[in-house]
């Protein structure tokens, strides 16, 4: 049986790929392509955050009675990543390659650290605590994200 959080892991990789495209285009000064890729990247990231914040985290908190702790840290890191994406948008508008690259570089490390923590610690916790519930969380996550990975 696949874990309920599998769609989230899959979607992490999808976001990474679009990030790499956006960053490479900014680096090459191809701003039109960078604009498209950045918009797509931010839309995917927001869809991912929303899925976690609206579906996974509440389900986990209900199943475990645990509020704050790891989920609060994940929410805080989402906010940090949103700040950095906003910096990327400002740099994109200004066609400032250095500022875009710097914000993207910072975001990449933060994002990867965040993903490692989720994939190695939080998601396994969610998978085991949600296994006992009758809710089809895996289905809900898949419905929101799996289709997006095809685009």
């Amino acid at each position: 049986m696949t874990n309920p959080t599998q769609p989230l892991r899959h979607h992490h990789k999808h976001c990474d790929d679009i990030f790499a495209t956006a960053e490479a285009q900014a680096h090459a000064g191809e701003w039109a392509g960078c604009e498209t890729a950045s918009a797509k990247f931010i839309a995917e990231m927001e869809a991912h955050f929303a899925t976690e914040e609206q579906v996974l985290f509440p389900a986990f908190e209900t199943a475990t009675g645990m509020s704050g702790g790891p989920v609060a840290v994940m929410r805080m890191e989402h906010a940090q990543m949103r700040d950095l994406m906003a910096q990327m948008v400002v740099a994109l508008k200004a066609r400032d390659r250095n500022a875009y690259g710097g914000a993207a570089d910072t975001l990449l490390i933060l994002m990867q650290q965040h993903n490692v923590k989720e994939e190695n610690i939080l998601y396994p916790m969610c998978d085991s605590s949600l296994a006992a519930t009758v809710l089809d969380i895996g289905g809900a996550l898949g419905e929101r994200l799996e289709g997006r990975c095809q685009t």
Binding site: A20, E23, H27, P70, D83, L108, L110, V116, M125
Partner: protein, 431 residues
Amino acid sequence: MHPNLSFEQAPPISVPFRFFVTAPWFGAAAGLLLAWLGADALASRWTSGALALNHLLVAGFMLQATCGALLQFVPVAAGGNVWRPRLVAGVAHPLLAIAALLLAAAFLFAARALFIAAAAIFAVSIAGYVIVVGFALRRTPAQGPTLMALRLAVAGLAVTAVLGVAMATSLGSGGSLPLIEITHVHAAWGLGGWALMLVMGVSYHVVPMFQLTPPYPVRLAWTLPPALVAVLGLWSWQLGGDAAPWQQAVLLAGMFLASVYAATTLVLQARRRRKVGDPTLFFFRGAMGCLLLIAASTLWFGADADADPRAAVWIGMLAIPGVFVSVISGMLYKIMPFLNWLHLQRLGGPGTMPPNIREMIPERAMLGQMRLHFAAVALLLLAVPLPSLTRPAGLLFAASCAWLGVNLAGGVRSYLRFRDRIVAAGTTVAA
């Protein structure tokens, strides 16, 4: 359920940074010493100059940087709670620095009292460090090949230190230990069991993360660290007396493992999804290239390595400035700006916009220093067959290490400048 989930275990920024800003100056000192001593120092690995230079780099530069990095890495990436990190760093950092200087001076001036002093300080500081970090690594609930490699690396540091302290004590007290055999084993554990093991474990974690590469193959990641320990165990057989003829096969097995790691890393980096390169990637590639060159050189020298005393100097140049100084420099350029950003962001709270990581240390400065470093490594290697190049090679290496030191100090200044700005704006949320 995960028994001890702690996301917020990062130590105060001063804990790793005090080690990081110190490390490069040992490299600068080693370069200047080489320039001062000249070609005679590199006639063999056993000259007093070579031993002093070597220990400025391994017990100075490398030990400082790796001990500092591990105090950050163990809690954040391996989930281990380090007991009172500020105190551990406050004691270990100056003691390790003093011990490394004393040891280099002891070799240089053949001063018995200095050997004893260095041995005593290393014994206390490394024992304390190994116990604290080893305990954190033992108790962490995390799992995986990175954790296994880190545990083995700390054990490797302990073995290296025990042998080193025994030899320094013997040199200081006129003892009669078989120093040549112990040195072979001590160097193998230090470079292979501690430094390479640590780099492997950290690579498993950061290579995919920084460049969006595929992960290391699982079976390989689990196999390499214990295989390396097995090779080192067989290599240590020579402590019992003369080296057996099969020791050459053990050496080649060790080189094979190192090559597999280096080649895998290069292949993964070639398959990275991230298209944009950065100084960390280039430093890593240079280091892996040098590691492969060590294996190729060992094959080339074959059993004749003992015939030419300069063969070991060549290997040492490849291993220490080539592999470890390179990979450490690359990692420092990534870790330090990101820690700056993270700590400033947490200090200021939500909505704070600290400068991004490229504004902490300018990329141009990092790339310039990197080019100088690799030029210095090339010249150091050339100085092995062409001794007239020794002094310029030493000066170039000193300059590249000093530039690294200046770049890292600039990173600290950036942190302090923006920290003061946040504090002055009164938006601090956490100390």
